[in-house]
């Protein structure tokens, strides 16, 4: 007969039983993170959680779950510090490996404490286990934006574009790793993604193209040539976004390139002697300008 929740008459024995049960669960959660759960019995763990909640100690279990998750994430973060000095690709690989472990463990924890989820969590309107997992990751890994791990991550993500724009070769493996890393940031929340990656990325893009436009306009070139260069820049940026980043960013990146390269220099482009937009309209060689204008 399954245990019927009843008021505990022998408090100290009841308390120690609960403690023992919680300890079992705690060590199981560690096993999940370590990746060796095959020897564990779902039934035993589920019953542990069930018994604790049925005995009206849902709050205790909930707190413990949150604490355990936070501790495990801290452990993962600590092990990442040692990888911080490795190459970009190595670091990202380690980070994404930890992320996967974390996601798997969260999923398993969620399964085991399903009874708590159905009853205690929903009744009290608390955050569900997956949300606790995201929160723990945000706080443990990306806390403060000035820790070793977040800085390293940011550098790795911005590094791909930076190096390619400078004409340097980029490790091919980095493309997939960067794509996965940005997906991870998106899962953590749009604001995290924007603050951590998109905004600094667009800022760097802006600075780069402001310098580029100044450099190119200082050299002798026709308006048509300039616009063709802008076009190939846009193509390169779009290719990079589709390979490495989230597609929604494409529009923003193209807008930045156009602003820096074309919009800010419109007067100069129009008035270029012999080849400015004005003369292009006159002699009909306006296909490049037309194409560029269509990007907007």
């Amino acid at each position: 007969m399954l245990p019927i929740p009843a008021p505990a008459t022998d408090h100290s024995r009841h308390r120690s039983e609960i403690s023992r049960t919680l300890l079992t669960l705690s060590s199981a959660f560690s096993d999940f993170y370590a990746g060796n759960a095959e020897h564990l019995s779902y039934y035993t763990l589920y019953s542990c959680a069930y018994n604790v909640v049925a005995a009206d100690h849902g709050e205790v279990l909930y707190t413990q779950v949150a604490t355990n998750i936070a501790t495990e994430v801290e452990k993962l973060a600590a092990s990442l510090y040692s990888a911080a000095s490795a190459s970009d690709a190595e670091f990202l690989r380690e980070l994404l490996g930890s992320w996967k472990k974390h996601c798997n463990a969260i999923s398993m924890i969620n399964d085991v404490v399903m009874y708590m989820d159905r009853t205690f969590i929903q009744k009290r309107g608390k955050a569900r286990v997956p949300e606790l997992g995201l929160r723990a990751w945000r706080e443990g890994m990306l806390d403060g934006l000035d820790g070793e791990v977040p800085l390293r991550l940011q550098a790795a993500l911005l590094g791909v574009a930076g190096r390619e724009r400078a004409g340097e070769a980029v490790d091919v493996a980095l493309y997939d790793l960067t794509a996965s890393a940005t997906k991870m940031l998106l899962e953590l929340g749009d604001s995290v993604y924007q603050e951590f990656f998109e905004t600094p990325f667009l800022d760097e893009t802006r600075w780069f193209y402001a310098r580029e436009s100044a450099r190119l306009l200082a050299l002798p070139c026709t308006c048509g040539e300039y616009l063709r260069t802008v076009e190939s820049m846009i193509d390169a940026e779009m290719a990079r976004v589709s390979r490495c980043f989230d597609a929604r960013m494409e529009e923003k990146v193209v807008a930045v390139v156009l602003t820096e390269m074309v919009e800010k220099n419109v007067a100069r482009l129009v008035g270029m002697e012999g080849s400015g937009l004005a003369s292009m309209l006159v002699d009909g060689s306006y296909s490049a300008a037309f194409r560029t204008a269509c990007r907007r």
Partner: protein, 116 residues
């Protein structure tokens, strides 16, 4: 309550999804073994989680689950419920699921535990 012991014949299903195919063994407190389709077992959310959890618990590896706290009679009724549920899930026919009053409390406890 009639019929203790090995219950329900195994129905073979077409291969549609690797995880849905096959059978799982549910073992009661007294040690009786009920072999049912995985698809039937998944009517219970608890059992579904157990069998499809990414970590791979001992139960999903061995394809058997022990219920030391659920008696044979109740477990048999639960298996019957799984199949009844699958059969009438389409909603085209309806029929009552017969429950003897004397097992109601135990059955409800088990159903609560198994989230079914």
């Amino acid at each position: 309550m009639t019929g203790k012991g090995e219950a329900a014949a195994q129905h073979r299903e077409e291969e549609e999804d690797g995880e849905m195919v096959g059978v799982v063994k549910l073992i009661s407190a007294e040690g009786f073994e009920f072999v049912i389709d995985k698809k039937a077992a998944m009517v219970s959310n608890t059992l579904r989680n157990m069998l499809t959890s990414p970590g791979g618990f001992a139960e999903s590896r061995d394809n058997e689950v022990r219920f030391p706290e659920i008696s044979t009679a109740i477990l048999e009724k639960i298996c019957q419920y799984f199949y009844w549920s699958l059969h009438y899930a389409s909603g085209k026919e309806t029929a009552e699921f017969p429950i003897e009053p004397e097992i109601t409390l135990e059955l409800m406890m088990a159903a609560n535990y198994l989230d079914t």
